[in-house]
């Protein structure tokens, strides 16, 4: 076997290397200098992100268990960028006294989950897929419980691990049925053998339920809000953006490749999930005051919108999902970045605490507004394009009523996004959050988000590129 072939796994290998290097660096720095690990790791990760963009070979490894294509490489690059932004945003938080002795843990755990997600994206059979899933999930529980002295954070960790274990069990149960019916765990073989019969249908429903936990679709979303609220903000943003984005990628890939022959079976299921996810998440988001819970429900609703791209099966569906996640990364990290910056400076975590923010911190307020408008899908920012193409995909398959429900939901979501805008710009407050200067790393992260929010929508080349590699991938 030619060792050069392993370069196909360059993203995973690089990340593993990074995790090891961080571990060694941790051991070899004295207690006084721990804080230096932060810029070191961020620099290292930035390097990895850049290397990831160097075009390279694509193909299959291990007899098809590992597949790489331009699309999977692109997805991994999106996740890398997202994690880079999360790291930059975490810098100020990690520098705090209580976290100084846990810096490397944060980075290593995060990178481990990212490795798992990369393997999931590249999986060519259900075994690699499942191993990737577990690698991606278990470290997150550690991250959620990172503020171990806070009972809320510990609770979040426990909740996450329990619900993950349950969902993994359900997922495995479903996979075993599919294995029983088709006699193979290889995606290619399963795809060739799936028929719309009862056993496959049952297995498929369990599979979707299991994945539903990961993407937090209604009615599998109950862990989301509590975990998002309890976990530290920089973990929440990771969960909400990277973890969810990766799960959406994988879900789409598997539905579009493995289960493409039973489209008629899964479309009604996705339809129902989409309607419930959008509507219920929106209704719950209406009454939140904690900004993290608020963003949790908003991100559940966004997952519902992603399902519209999924239901528009085919290359347009794939393109729109990948494009939307790309937009979502910058948009949601923009919002989370502001929340994290404010939390680090003042500890405020409620929407009513944001009253009068524009007077004291105009730039952050504008950035938050921009991100929220992008989440709501208001032109001319990227979120508008992302949503529009998702809806185009669904409408292209003839689901006009679903599109109507979705756009009405987008209107409802505008209400609660505007509530935050109202707090920042309109509400009067005698003691607003005082003016502060965020750290340089946070500024870089936020500038990246703003650039993404503005550029991705107008740069149609990105969309066309995703479309081309999606067509390559699906054929």
């Amino acid at each position: 076997m030619d060792l050069g072939q392993f370069l196909l796994m360059r993203h995973e290998l690089l990340l593993t290397l990074a995790a090891v290097v961080v571990l060694i660096a941790e051991v070899s720095t004295s207690d006084k200098n721990k804080a230096r690990l932060i810029p070191f790791t961020i620099g290292l990760f930035a390097l990895i992100t850049i290397i990831g963009f160097i075009p390279g070979e694509t193909g299959n490894l291990f007899g098809g268990s590992y597949q790489s294509s331009q699309l999977t490489v692109f997805m991994k690059n999106i996740l890398n960028i997202a994690v880079l932004i999360v790291f930059l945003q975490a810098e100020g938080w990690l520098k705090k006294e209580e976290n100084l002795n846990k810096i490397s843990e944060y980075f290593i755990l995060t990178i481990s989950t990212l490795i798992g997600m990369n393997f999931m994206i590249s999986a060519g059979d259900f075994l690699i897929f499942y191993i990737g899933l577990e690698t991606a999930t278990i470290p997150i529980a550690g991250l959620a419980a990172f503020d171990k002295y806070k009972s809320q954070s510990a609770e979040a960790g426990i909740k996450l691990i329990l619900s993950s274990a349950l969902s993994s069990g359900i997922l495995l149960f479903g996979l075993s049925m599919i294995y029983g019916a088709t006699g193979s765990i290889y995606f290619a073989d399963v795809a060739a053998n799936v028929k719309p019969d009862a056993l496959i249908a049952l297995g498929f429903i369990f599979f979707v339920s299991g994945m539903g936990f990961k993407i937090s679709l209604v009615p599998f979303h109950f862990w989301t809000a509590d975990v998002y609220e309890g976990a530290p903000i920089n973990v929440t943003s990771y969960l909400s953006v990277v973890s969810k984005g990766a799960a959406a990628f994988i879900f789409t890939i598997i539905l579009f490749t493995v289960f493409k022959n039973i489209v008629d079976l899964w479309k009604p299921l996705i339809y129902t999930l989409a309607v419930f996810t959008m509507t219920l998440a929106n209704l719950f988001a209406l009454r939140q005051d904690n900004i993290k819970r608020f963003l949790a429900f908003s991100s559940i609703a966004q997952a519902g919108f992603i399902l519209l791209g999924v239901i528009g099966a085919g290359e347009l569906g794939m393109t729109s999902v990948v494009y939307f996640v790309l937009v979502y990364v910058f948009t949601n990290l923009g919002a989370f970045g502001v929340v994290a910056a404010i939390h680090n400076a003042s500890g405020v975590e409620t929407i009513s605490g944001y009253n009068g923010l524009y007077k004291t911190n105009p730039k952050l307020s504008l950035l938050m507004t921009l991100s929220l408008f992008s989440l709501a899908g208001i032109p001319p920012v990227a979120g508008f394009f992302g949503k529009f193409f998702l809806f185009t995909a669904a409408a292209g398959s003839g689901y006009f009523i679903l599109v109507l429900i979705a756009v009405l939901n987008a209107t409802i979501s505008l209400y609660y996004y505007l509530k935050v805008v109202r707090a920042m710009f309109i509400e009067k407050n005698d003691g607003p959050i005082p003016a502060f200067r965020s750290t340089n790393a946070m500024r870089i992260a936020l500038i990246m988000c703003v650039a993404g929010i503005f550029i991705i929508g107008f740069a149609s080349d990105i969309f066309e590129y995703i479309r081309n590699i999606s067509i390559l991938f699906l054929n």
């Binding site: 185009t392 006009f400 599109v403 756009v407 209107t411 505008l414 505007l418 109202r422 149609s460």
Partner: protein, 501 residues
Amino acid sequence: MNILTLHVVIPILTIIAILFTKDLKGARVVSAVGMGVQLIATAVLLFMYLGARKTGNMHEMLFTADYTWFKSLNIHYFIGVDGIAVAMLCLTSIVVFAGIFASWEMEYLSREFFISLILLATGVYGFFISLDLFTMFLFYELAVIPMYLLIGIWGTGPKESSAMKLTLMLMGGSALLMVGIFGIYFNSAPDGGQLTFNIIEISKIKIPVEAQRFFFPFTFIGFGILGALFPFHTWSPDGHASAPTAVSMLHAGVLMKLGGYGCFRVAMFLMPEAANEMAWFFIILTTISVVYGALGAIWQTDLKFINAYSSVSHVGLVLVALLMLNQTAIDGAIIQMISHGLMTALFFALIGMIYGRTHTRNINEMGGLMKVMPFLAVVYMIAGLASLGLPGLSGFVAEMTIFVGAFEHHDMFHRVVTVIIASSIVITAVYILRVVGKILLGPIIDKHHEHLPDAKWFEKLSTVTLVLAIAAIGIAPLWLSDTIIASLKPVMAKLAMVIPF
């Protein structure tokens, strides 16, 4: 650069320039200069357009430019104008220019105010020049969203709830509209081939009638909500009453016209069969708008509410005229859009100025203002007379054309409708004359009003611009009317295939 693209670029440059200003003085000067340049650009466009038509350039759209944007979905930045769009652009430039001067003393967060206001205008300009449904929709939403901040931050009264109500209802409208646009897009190539958002290309094919039946209501109501279509008009009185002066001007003057223009350019032009079939239903709704709006205005005592309800009535007249589906009525509808845009902008400007002096908008608390502020009072009277359709001013031309057009239908239904909507003129006269009599004439009620100053130079500039435009249309309506009728040909040709006249 294409003169139409310039109409979007100038406001954006103005916004960037405002970012570099420090205070109100800088911001307002920059805005005034920017929008002054924009007004000149529109005037140049008008003369270029008339010149091109005179030399016999009979293309459907002039000054077109076409850039591919999202290639695989066939989304273009495709722009071009006909006489109707040029007229709407002129209206927009005049109202925006007047609006800047009407908010000359906006002390609170002035930079942000002018930026939001001009952003709103950018959306409106972009909407009128777009011939691609995607860009049109993009600009449409861009025009709606700054309203929230403009009303929420700088408004009066229950501004937060009014702003939220307005934004959500209009965005709900755009939700319907989005479904309609998707419906048009995915039916734009019934014989196979490339789907398109291009309005001109779609107008050349026939969208399957079943699809039209399904998607026409979405599109029409979607735009209609912005045109205060009954029963979706409730955002309008609250929104207008709470908005600051310039925003009311721009919103009632221009933004509501986006609704009428969209109904005409997208819903009726692209789906004429369904428009013909369903016209009766929407005629009933819009007739209710006309009469209900006028009756509502009678009962109000707040000047802004009176004018807001009157807007519902007048814009309803636009929609009802469009639905008459004949050349005269549609011509009247478009003149009415321009005329009402100017008139209502003038009204709201005056109300803002009066309120700035008397600190009340309640007509029972004012009286004899003619004695203390003769300039403003006279202009108010002119606006009122234009509104009730006095010959020589723009309102008469518009309404007369509409009623003549509506009466061209011979059947009972249209005749009855015509009679009902014509009755709104009488009701209009009632509430206009009542207000004029109460607040301008008679004795001065409030002693504090005795020494109020008359209009300042920027207020005079703002109002005189609008009065001149109103009088111009009233005195020489034919050049406007001819331009519109010439541009109506493609639409009428399309409708003629459907309607058995």
